[in-house]
């Protein structure tokens, strides 16, 4: 499969099937990322669909100057914030379906048990730290791209990461978190 930018360019040039490639490439990681904010896999899935639909509804807003992933994650973050303004963050205490959904999502996004452990530890961090670590470690964005998504400066990202890693070290002794 090609990268997201070239698939999207083909879609804009009239190849309708190319959009499915974009969806397959980013859908799971978008849901996983948005779920960090909203804490509800089903809502995260709907918001991820809305996010991808932005590429169709406003096709010329993306300028191909930065990565499509960064662009999509920035939209996803805004969608999640808007959702949270209307709903409270949901904790996983209600239905067993939620656990199953989250587990299946983790299976598709996280490579190993170690990543899963780290992912669960992130849930205990404050919002900004959790999102920052998620973007850097799980999505492997650069500090600059993470700063774009979070609408912060690179220095703030640096600072957040430093503090987040300190807290993680206390939670998961023996681990080494390097940027």
């Amino acid at each position: 499969m090609e990268n997201g930018e070239s698939s999207y360019r083909r879609f804009l040039n009239g190849d309708e099937t190319a959009f499915d490639e974009v969806v397959k490439l980013y859908l799971d990681s978008l849901i996983f990322f948005i779920n960090r904010y909203v804490g509800d896999v089903m809502a995260a899935e709907d918001l991820a669909v809305d996010t991808l639909l932005e590429l169709v509804i406003h096709p010329h807003r993306y300028d191909f100057k930065r990565s499509l992933k960064t662009y999509l994650f920035a939209i996803g973050k805004n969608k999640a914030f808007n959702y949270l303004k209307r709903h409270r963050r949901v904790e996983y205490t209600e239905k067993s379906d939620d656990f199953a959904d989250l587990a299946s999502l983790e299976d598709s996004v996280l490579a190993n048990e170690r990543s899963r452990e780290l992912s669960h530890a992130l849930d205990k961090l404050p919002d900004d730290m959790r999102i920052c670590l998620h973007l850097i470690y799980f999505e492997e964005l650069s500090y600059k791209d993470a700063a774009v998504v979070m609408k912060k400066s690179v220095k703030q990202i640096d600072n957040l990461l430093y503090r987040a890693k300190n807290q993680l070290r206390q939670m998961l002794p023996g681990d080494d978190f390097r940027a």
């Binding site: 959009f19 969806v23 899935e45 639909l53 379906d97 900004d128």
Partner: protein, 232 residues
């Protein structure tokens, strides 16, 4: 249960088609109704121009009618302009596509990723949680020395020293220098706020960067000295 990728792709295609169909329908309606609306406006303008002097003389009197005659064109123009609703400020943000308030909170030209609904938090609002700070823990990262203050002593220091420094601060730019002290404040809801002080006069309040001046730096030094002094 979560949907499969194929189901989601199908949903996106369906919503994309709906959106395109809606745009086509809007365009068709616009092309049909626009000439009729234009004609109606022109006719109404003409009728108003003919009938207005008579109506005004019935209700207001001859002198006003005479004055109106000379300024009929301008008055008509002004009325037309005032009938057009003022653009954006008081209206909800539009997504620029279907004329309805955007579900996503609107997407402006300056921010292609779309904004977040509502206003950004002001600095004063950001400071509000400080009202009930119950404890402060200061660490001098150069010496490793740390001190903790609780109760009114810590409130007084915040109000007299740190608060004025932060109010004077403005947004800073990226310039990596080392952080020399860190202040962790415990707030009433049990959470904490972290203030980091940098050697170039920048300070971060829970990740947000602010820039202070030399006077502010002197105040910060005074604060650290006062915390350690009181702690001793």
């Amino acid at each position: 249960m979560r949907r499969t990728q194929e189901e989601i792709c199908a949903e996106i295609r369906r919503r994309r088609d709906l959106y395109r169909e809606k745009k086509r329908r809007q365009k068709r309606i616009l092309m049909t109704t626009l000439p009729v609306v234009c004609l109606a406006v022109v006719m109404a303008g003409g009728l108003w121009k003919i009938a207005a002097p008579g109506i005004l003389s019935d209700h207001i009197g001859e002198s006003t009618t005479a004055a109106f005659d000379g300024d009929c064109q301008a008055a008509s123009t002004m009325r037309t302009a005032s009938e057009v609703p003022d653009a954006a400020p008081s209206q909800p943000i539009l997504d620029g596509t279907d004329g309805k308030p955007s579900e996503s909170g609107g997407i402006s030209d300056s921010d292609p990723t779309g904004g977040v609904e509502g206003e950004e938090m002001t600095f004063e609002e950001l400071l509000m949680p400080w009202d009930g700070v119950s404890q402060m823990c200061l660490t001098d990262l150069r010496t490793g020395r740390s001190a903790t203050l609780e109760g009114t002593a810590c409130q007084e220091l915040l109000e007299e020293i740190l608060y004025p420094v932060l109010i004077r601060s403005t947004d800073g730019a990226y310039d990596p220098v080392s952080c020399f002290a860190e202040l962790i404040l415990t707030v009433p809801d049990g959470g904490s706020l972290t203030v980091s002080f940098y050697e170039d006069g920048e300070l971060t309040l829970d990740g947000e960067i602010y820039q202070t001046d030399s006077e502010g730096m002197a105040q910060i030094t005074k604060l650290t000295d006062a915390v350690f002094e009181q702690n001793d």
